[in-house]
Symmetry: C2
């Protein structure tokens, strides 16, 4: 008897196999049980007739609860009506460990109820599909950069100073007398790494103490951040386009089954091909006004603004050259028009908003020092960062892409909380 | 003129190219400058003759400091004596940004001096080689699991309770009235993920507030942790063997240049092939006694014990079945001999010590609850973990592998601090 995973079931047509898994659901009709078995790789209907297994086994199978762990043996049979194209004709059945009163039933549950039971909720077909898409997105991102000879250089989680703003920082007592802050972005370290290794990326968890409850924010989220020595704004817009197009194509290529479970309209994703439309902040501001939104030049786009902009295009849109005043201290001003910065945000379509933010970094020592002072940042903590402009400064650019937002968009989810196994939010630290 | 990266220089023999990089080192002999240029992908000697570039450029090149950023154009020429097999005959030269009094010179510096300047130290050839090996190790690990259909499922960094011990936890104020702890291991969450997705791994930073200064510990380090539903101890020993052998083979295959820079004795690494020797804790204890070490049955191996054991074998050794009393609460006791646990540590050879720890998890609800109580852990915080034994428990096993220790071993380093771009230690939070 061969041990088989459900995802590979098509290799075993007509053969006897053993499946180890859990009872996901079932129905019975007189002398036949239809057991939906899940094993983590897929779902399979196991057809058990009283005739084939005998009275005793048949009756035992009648009394097991949802999520009971079981070992089922049987013969694989092709069936065009089955979701995966195959069913199992059961010849043997063993209960490994029982499950009574499993809390998540096929009926509707509220989201707080489900999040309190996230360790069980992830067993649901829909949640598994999302997590597999997440897996695919992350691997697509890594393959994209690795195949272009970028070096993965991890940036630290414990940092001595804030990268952007201070109100959303998580402080940590670092032994007796020091305070560390959890990283909000690997970018500053990425810049040092790019000066050493040329083209780099970091990919890790980042933290923001977001006190607001929105559908786009988690306190702990994963971000990939490439940084390229000698690259300018146009270079990284092109890199960002290539990355997003490549990730979307990969998910469409390899995760059709999951997108179907999620009832995702894939035609919208198929339109996502480079080049993306590029509009300046000025043009975007005008577009919002034309749509009747109360937007004034100089402000940052709020959630509804981003939604309006991203609904306007059939693919992601690159919005560039925001006012320098609303952007971080390390952004390079446009030499042709210093009141705007050489920066870019990429907004996902269908109202999903910002998925990428980045641009060209300030590479002039004097101007950077001036900005650090203007922003009231402690110069001492940034001496190492200033060193990058002291010793052989070069033009360089990069960006960050938030994984959860990309997954929410690709899966067509309303909220990012389902895009990560254990979401962390303002009032959510368990399980 | 084609822009080229030094790592691809062999594609351009006889052709004119432009290299953008930094002056790494140089020497001059009368009418010729030999400039070592680095661009992050490699090092290349650029030969500049006064005749080819003229007096003005030649004199300018005479006065630039180490790490000055430069753009060099010239023709690629094969030269068997050059480290990479090629040199550049310079026809054009441009200084982008100066560098004066670069602090890290070719002379010897103390390690604290260098760690204070880690953002610059990583530009050194040796440090770059280590970071490229790290990159390769991480990608080898991911490819290993992905090619075996494991799903990457990220476990949270913010956790409500400690996984092992409490003295080495970093607490974080989580908004007004909650304390979170930074994860020490994704394992418990991994177990829930394995019940949902079958075969999973997590790969992220983990944190231990290690107050001791040893050559094997960082406060922030990266760990990969696979977890497999239905697997037993032997299954994961085999998985661990396969992983380590695969990572070593990949680094030997793709990073010979880096290992040469590091002067690593690769014959020692070539011996690392599965199967690895397996010894029980009992046998290991006897071996230590035979070597004259003062080891008593029942204790954990200290640094010197691990060193002695790992020097005894020519490849990694799997030590299994440690006393249950010294292992974590979630370890499954050996049914044949409950005073030992179904656990395994893999020790790297050449004295590098533990790189992997894992085993089979306790899958019985009553026994797990008893252990939680015996260890004085708050039952409430572990209710979700107990749920995994309430609803369809199955045998399952996994392990964790510390990336920095593997990199230290493969690179032949004395201390883990050079294996990560920005090491975090007891007195080290900057840069």
């Amino acid at each position: 008897m061969t041990d088989a995973y459900i995802q590979d079931i098509d290799r075993y047509e007509g053969q006897p196999v053993t499946i180890r898994g859990w009872l996901h659901n079932r129905r019975s009709s007189g002398k036949i049980h239809f057991l939906i078995v899940r094993d983590g790789t897929g779902f399979l209907q196991a057809v058990m007739s009283k005739k084939a297994v005998g009275d005793e086994v048949f009756t035992r199978a009648d009394h097991i609860g949802q999520e009971t762990s079981i070992i089922v043996t049987g013969t694989v049979r092709a069936d065009a009506r089955a979701p995966g194209g195959f069913e199992l004709d059961v010849s043997g059945f063993e209960v490994v460990s029982p499950s009574a009163d499993y809390p998540i039933t096929p009926k509707e549950h509220g989201v707080d109820f489900l999040l309190d039971r996230r360790h069980l909720w992830i067993r649901a077909e829909r949640q598994q599909a999302i997590l597999r898409v997440r897996h695919e997105v992350i691997n697509a991102v890594r393959d994209f950069f690795n195949s272009r000879d970028f070096i993965l250089a991890d940036t630290p989680i414990f940092t001595p100073a804030a990268c952007e703003g201070t109100t959303t920082l998580f402080p940590v007592q670092y032994f007796e007398d020091t305070t560390a802050y959890l990283t909000q972005s690997g970018q500053l370290y990425n810049e040092a790494n790019a000066m050493a290794l040329g083209r780099v990326y970091c990919f890790g968890p980042t933290f923001r103490a977001e006190k607001s409850k929105t559908r786009r924010h988690l306190t702990e989220f994963w971000m990939v951040e490439p940084e390229v020595a000698w690259a300018n704004l146009d270079d990284v817009i092109e890199l960002a386009e290539g990355l997003v197009a490549s990730v979307v194509a990969r998910v469409l290529d390899r995760r059709q089954r999951e997108l179907k479970v999620l009832e995702r309209n894939t035609s919208k994703l198929e339109a996502v091909k480079a080049p993306f439309p590029r509009v300046s902040y000025d043009e975007a501001a005008q577009l919002l006004k034309d749509k009747g939104l109360p937007f004034e030049w100089g402000g940052d786009f709020g959630g509804p603004d981003e939604t309006a902009l991203s609904e306007h295009f059939d693919r992601p849109v690159a919005v560039h050259r925001y006012p320098s005043a609303i952007k971080a201290f390390y952004m390079k001003p446009d030499p042709a028009r210093p009141e705007v910065a050489l920066c870019v945000d990429v907004l996902a379509p269908e109202g999903y908003g910002e998925i990428i933010g980045g641009g060209q970094r300030l590479d002039d020592y004097d101007l950077l020092l001036q900005r650090i002072k203007e922003h009231g940042l402690p110069q001492e903590a940034f001496e190492w960062y200033l060193d990058l402009r002291r010793y052989g400064s070069v033009p360089h650019s990069g960006f960050g892409m938030g994984i959860e937002r990309v997954v929410a968009w690709l899966c067509g989810l309303e909220h990012v909380r389902e895009t990560i196994p254990y979401p962390r939010m303002l009032y959510r630290l368990y399980p």
